[in-house]
Structures are given as C-alpha cells and as structure tokens.
C-alpha cells in the first residue's frame, strides 16, 4: 500500500511538472504571439501613418499650424480622411503640435470619440513626443500607464527639416485581449488540471501521512515509546541475523517496585529505563518492549567486524545500576539482567534466537541478577559448543548406540532405541546432555536429527528390525525438521513401518497442526510413543488429542517398583489404563531381576534397562 502510494505520488508529481512546463510554454507562446502581433501592427501602422502624412502634405505645402488654423474646412476634410482609418483596433488617430510653452495641442483629430478641438491642450507623455521632435524619427510607445491603449505610434510631420506636428495612432488593447481570450480556455484547462492534480497529490500525501502516523502508533509502545511486538512481527520477517546480536533484558525485582511504590512509579521507571537504554545503545540498535518489564535489543554488528554487543550490554547494565530513579519524593535504584545471543545467524529463526536469549536471561537471573549471560556452557558439565557440534557433524563423528527393548513375556527383543552420541576429537564420547541444549533451535540441530534418522533407517534396512528414536514434540511443529522428516520417510517408505518416534516434552503442545502432522507421519506406518510418561506434567488428555500407540513409563517410577508401594500402584494404574486404551506399555529403567519380576506380574508388555541390555554401538545379534 505504501509502495503504491509512492508510485502514485511519483506519477502525480511528474504530471504536475509536465503541466507546469506546458503552462509556462503557453505563457511563452502568448508573449511571442504578442511580440509578433506588435511587429505586424507596427508595420501596418507605419503604412497607414505614412499615408496620413502624405495626405496632409498634399493639402498643406508649408506652415502646418497656420494653414490649418486658417482653413477649418481643410481640417474637417483631413479629419474625415483620418477617421476612415479608425477601427476597433486603431482607436484614436490625431495630430498634435508643440507650442512655444512646450505644451502639446491638437491640430487634427480623426477620432470618433473624445474628439479634441483645434489648438486645445492635450496632456500626454511629453518625453516621448519631445524625443520625436528632436530625432525627427517615428517612435513606438508601449502605453503601460494608459488604460485601453496598448501601443502608440508617433510619426513626425517634417517641413523643411523642421517638425511641425506629430501624427499619433493609438492602438487599442482589444486584439491582444482577443488573443488572450483565445488562449484563455487552454490556460484554464491547464490550470484546472493542475489544481485537480495538485489536490490529488495533497490527498495522497495526507493519506500517506495518516498511514505513517497510524503505522507509527501501531508499532510503538504508548508508555515507553519503544517499539512493541507488532513491530517485532514485521522485523522478524525482514531482519538479517548476520547483522545483529540479540539480547533479552529484564528489570530485576520490578514487581517489588510496583508493589512497594505503586504502578505510577513502575511506569516512571519503565519510561526512564528506556531512555537510559537509548542513551547507552547505538543509533542502529533496536529496542523492543517484549513484555511487561522485558525488553529485546537487536544490537547492530558490522559485517567482518568484532561484535561490540558485550560492551554495549555492559554499558547498559552499568548505566542502569548507577541511575537514581526519583519520582514524587521516592527514589530507588534498580538493576537489570540480560541474556545475550551472539552469532544469531547460526539459529534457523529469529524466534529461536529470542528463545535462547530468554533462556540465558533466566540463567542470569538464577545466577544472582545484574549480569549478562552470553553462553550456555555450564561449569560442571563438559559441554560442546555449537561450532564443535557442527564440526563433529561435518567430520561424520556422529553415531548411535542402540538399547534393546524386550517383550517381557517372550524375552525376545522387540526393537531397539537409537541413542545419539558424538565422538570427540579423541575417542571420548559426548552424550545428548552435553550438546543438545546448545544446538536446540539451530540448523545444526536439524542436521543432527537428519543424520540420526538416516542411521536408523540404515540399521532397519540392514537388520529388518524395529527401531525407535527420540524427538521433541516441538520438532514436529518446526517446519524445517518436519519437512526433512517427511522427506526421509518418503525416501524410505518401505522401512517406515519399522520406525517408532518417541515424543518428549509433549505436555502442553497438542494442537491442530501437530495432530495433522502426526497423522501424516503415521500414514507411513510409523508408530508414536510417549516417552517418560508419568513424570513432569503428564496430561491424560493427550490420549484424546493425539493418536498414540505406545507409552513408555518413566524410569523414576519403575526403578523402585519392587520397594515402593506408590510406584507399584502408579505403574499398575498406567499399565491398566494403557491396556484399556489398547496401547503398548514399555517400562524403562529395568535395572534388576526384582523389577523385571514385578513388571511381569503387572503384565507390562515390554521393558528396557541395563538389566535387559545396555546401549551399544554394535547391534546385538542374539535375542
């Protein structure tokens, strides 16, 4: 819409320029026409005046004043002849002489109106007439000061080298007015079109102004004047993550500010906090109010230059912590915490970057607040960085260990669960808790999932046995992972029936899109299992919402089943529930014969655990 308005405006301005140009050209044309007419008139008047002079000289051979004074009949005759030249254009024709006092008086007047009498004084522009007397040459005078007269031609009557009178022919403005009248409609059209076009331009500009104003209002938080989430929605679509580091910022203990000082103070703190942010960041950085007291910062990073995000964030934290917020006799100091994500381009979407920044923000909060956390590396766990995981994938150091799942009644292996591992640069193995958090939400995570899926299908093809692998429910929602999954299933259609996907983190994610996608996955013959059921916030409504085939009872419930009555009752209930729902039950963490015996007693279909079989790189051949 905005682009369309700009295009409209461009054409309207162009049209305006064309109209102005044509209007000016028309004015030039009018002026040129006037000049041409002037020159034609001068030619014609010269011809007429010369004839008048000839006529006078034919009748008066010398001493013009005396001859005419003494002969009224001759005056009448000459005036009649002169009067024949009078037309609407040639308005007045008369002859004046200059008396001894320098005044000009009538000798003859051929005019039909306002006729002057012989010897009567006539007040005219004496300067022009004097110059004709002096030069004895004809003169054209443009009459700007005389109404209804355009130009006057003055022509001297010379006897014996002496000027004895001057013939004047006044040319009326009617012809010029006629030309102007002819051109007038054309000029009017230009004028009307110009006015209409200009009005249109004004309307478009006003509309653009209103649009910009509305747009500005819609993307701005009314309290702090920072951008809001509507702006973020647009930004997400166009931002280049190579150019920005992302930080999530939150005021520490802000709730206490509202509780202890009131919401007005809270608002005051928020407004001034944003002002402090604006002072501390750079012009290309972007502030977005993400939630109540949560702000998102997009920190500009020049390509091929060292990121300055840490320095900027440190400056922000220092400025805020040193500022004294004073409002209506109350003052307080407040700090803020931040989660910073550098190399945001390594994540496959802005949402993932924001999620990561948010996680780090909470990490900063949990570590004592008033600090910046910019990595996930924990002090107690030997974690792999994102780059290290990527390198491991590139160098094909990803592998799977397979743990058998037994059918308890037959003691035969029903399937294997594929468990991902990364081999370090030596022989050291890294387990999922050492790298999955780091790569979650990135393209590396998707690539890793793809590799695991390929290994699983390879093993299925090799051994013609069922396999299961783990996925987060959020992976199914993630477009890129889901598309990759469907592509792999399509490529291995005949093997898909051997695959079970064990879903993790399924507590609150059931929705229509997810259901559609799981149905689509199941259409290839894939089975769906709920992993770690019974722990966390397991919700029984999931059985209503999702087409589940298998539930795996969480190890924490199974491991003490032989000693704990509570565990026993829960597992028994889950097993009975699953049986009634027609689901297969798998018990995890079968670590002893005692546990196995209880499970058999409870008629649990399958079991998995170190007592039955450890995960290994080699596929067990015995059953």
């Amino acid at each position: 819409m905005k682009q369309l308005n700009i295009i409209y405006s461009f054409f309207v301005v162009l049209l305006l320029f064309v109209l102005v140009y044509l209007y000016v050209r028309l004015g030039d044309f009018e002026l040129q026409a006037k000049k041409n007419i002037e020159s034609v008139i001068i030619k014609n008047t010269s011809y007429f005046i010369e004839n008048v002079e000839k006529n006078i000289k034919q009748h008066v051979k010398s001493n013009l004043y005396k001859s005419l004074k003494s002969n009224p009949q001759l005056r009448k005759e000459l005036e009649t002849n002169m009067g024949m030249l009078i037309t609407p254009s040639f308005k007045y024709i008369y002859v004046l002489y200059r008396d001894s006092a320098g005044k000009y008086r009538y000798l003859l007047d051929g005019s039909k109106e306002e006729k002057g009498l012989f010897d009567m004084k006539f007040d005219i522009d004496t300067q022009a007439w004097d110059s004709v007397y002096l030069s004895k040459e004809k003169k054209i005078v443009t009459q700007d000061d005389v109404s209804s007269i355009w130009i006057t031609t003055l022509y001297p009557i010379v006897y014996d080298g002496e000027v004895q009178g001057v013939i004047a022919l006044d040319f009326s403005t009617s012809l010029f007015q006629y030309i102007s009248k002819v051109l007038s409609p054309l000029k009017d059209i230009f004028l009307y079109v110009f006015v209409a076009t200009f009005s249109l331009l004004v309307v478009i500009l006003y509309q653009m102004f209103l649009q910009l104003k509305t747009k500005r209002e819609s993307i701005t938080d009314p309290l702090t004047k920072a951008y809001n989430r509507v702006y973020l929605r647009d930004l997400v679509e166009k931002i280049n993550l190579y150019n920005y580091d992302v930080a999530m910022l939150d005021l520490d203990h802000f709730k206490k500010v509202n509780d202890n000082f009131g919401h007005d103070m809270g608002d005051y703190v928020l407004v001034n906090f944003v002002k402090l942010l604006q002072k501390s960041i750079r012009s290309k950085d972007i502030i977005i109010r993400f939630g109540g007291e949560e702000f998102l910062l997009f920190l500009y990073k020049e390509k091929k230059k060292e990121s300055q995000a840490t320095e900027v964030m440190q400056r922000v934290l220092k400025t805020v912590s040193q500022y004294n917020f004073v409002y209506e006799n109350s003052s307080l100091q407040i700090t803020c915490s931040a989660g910073l994500v550098k190399e945001a381009f390594k994540y496959n979407s802005v949402q993932q970057v924001i999620k990561k920044a948010d996680e780090r923000l909470y990490s900063a909060k949990s570590r004592g607040r008033n600090r910046i956390v910019e990595s996930d590396i924990s002090a107690c766990v030997d974690r792999l960085s994102l780059g290290a995981v990527k390198q491991a994938l590139d160098e094909e150091r990803l592998l799977c260990h397979f743990q058998p799942i037994f059918t308890l009644s037959t003691k035969k292996i029903a399937k294997y669960e594929a468990l991902v591992r990364l081999r370090g640069e030596g022989e050291k193995l890294y387990y999922p808790n050492q790298f999955l958090d780091t790569i979650e939400g990135t393209n590396v995570y998707r690539d890793l999932t793809k590799n695991v899926l390929e290994i699983v299908f390879e093993k299925i093809a090799e051994h013609q046995i069922a396999m299961s692998m783990n996925l987060n429910l959020s992976d199914i929602i993630d477009n890129s992972i889901y598309e990759m999954l469907i592509k792999e299933l399509e490529a291995s259609k005949s093997l898909a029936q051997f695959l079970t996907i064990e879903l993790l983190e399924y507590e609150s994610l059931a929705n229509d899109i997810l259901l559609d996608r799981i149905v689509a996955i199941k259409s290839y013959g894939v089975k769906i299992a709920l992993d770690d059921f019974g722990s966390g916030y397991s919700n029984f409504s999931i059985f209503e919402n999702l087409p589940i085939d298998i539930i795996k009872i969480d190890g924490s419930l199974v491991k003490n089943i032989d000693n704990s009555k509570t565990s026993y009752i829960i597992v028994e209930s889950i097993a009975r529930l699953a049986k009634r729902l027609g689901l297969v039950v798998i018990a995890e963490f079968v670590h002893s014969k005692a546990v196995l015996d209880v499970l058999e007693e409870l008629d649990v279909r399958c079991g998995q655990g170190f007592y039955l079989g450890k995960p290994d790189i080699l596929m067990p051949t015995g059953q």
Binding site: Y92, G116, D123, I124
Partner: protein
C-alpha cells in the same frame, strides 16, 4: 467563472488605479486652490464621488452648497447664479462651464487632463504653485 473573476479583478484594478490617480490629482488641486485652509469643504453633485473626496486628507464633504468652499460639478448642474468656486469634472462639463469654472479635470483618450482657466483664477485671486502653472490656459 474564472473569466468573470479575472474581469472583476481587471475592472477593480483599473478602477482602483484611476481612482488613485484621481485622488492624487484632486488632492493637488484642492491644496493648490486653498493653500491656507486646513479643512476644505467640498460639495459634489455626484454622491459616489463624494466618497472619494471624503478620503482625502484635509477635506470635508458637505451636503449644502452654501457650506462649501468649492463645488465639484460632474453633471448638468445649474451654476449660473452660484457664487461659489466651481471645478468641472469631465470634458463636456468643462466645456459647458468654462465661463464660471476655475478649471477642469477629465479623461481623454485614456489620459488624465487638467486645465485651469486663467481669467477665472485671476477673478478669484488665486496664484497656483509652480508645479501646476503648466496647466493654466487662456480658454475662450
């Protein structure tokens, strides 16, 4: 519509320019004829011209001839038995009243013309300033 607006503006501007020229001329005439008077009382037979005179500095328009210092005649006014100073306005009025009028002002062929009649000036004992002497004529 635009034509009428332009015509109106043109007429107004012409009228205004003629009016302002007239105002200048009348101011000069009255100052020359009554150099000693701070207020010159003027009577006119044309009411709209009265408005013009009333705008001049040091001029008051009066309703009765008998109260006036000078009569500004624009039409066929009977001036034979009048003992007041008369000034003719318009060419025909000037020609008709040249025996009594002290002078005349009229437009001819688009140009403003001013004439003071010498014998009537002398009769009134008026001596014009030098700048207006060139307009003094022996009119028969």
């Amino acid at each position: 519509m635009k034509f009428f607006i332009l015509l109106f503006i043109f007429t107004i501007s012409l009228f205004a320019s003629e009016q302002s020229a007239e105002k200048r001329v009348y101011a000069s005439i009255l100052k020359a004829l009554f150099p000693e008077k701070t207020i010159v009382k003027v009577w006119s037979d044309k009411s709209e011209k009265g408005a013009l005179f009333s705008k001049l500095d040091g001029v008051r328009v009066v309703a009765q001839k008998k109260d006036a210092d000078i009569l500004m005649i624009f039409g066929p006014e009977d001036i034979e038995n009048c003992d007041k100073m008369i000034f003719a306005n318009g060419y025909l009025v000037f020609r008709r009243s040249k025996g009594k009028a002290i002078g005349g002002f009229y437009w001819q062929k688009g140009r403003a013309n001013l004439t003071f009649i010498k014998k009537n000036l002398e009769k009134e004992g008026i001596r014009l300033p030098k700048s207006l002497e060139k307009y003094v004529e022996d009119v028969e």
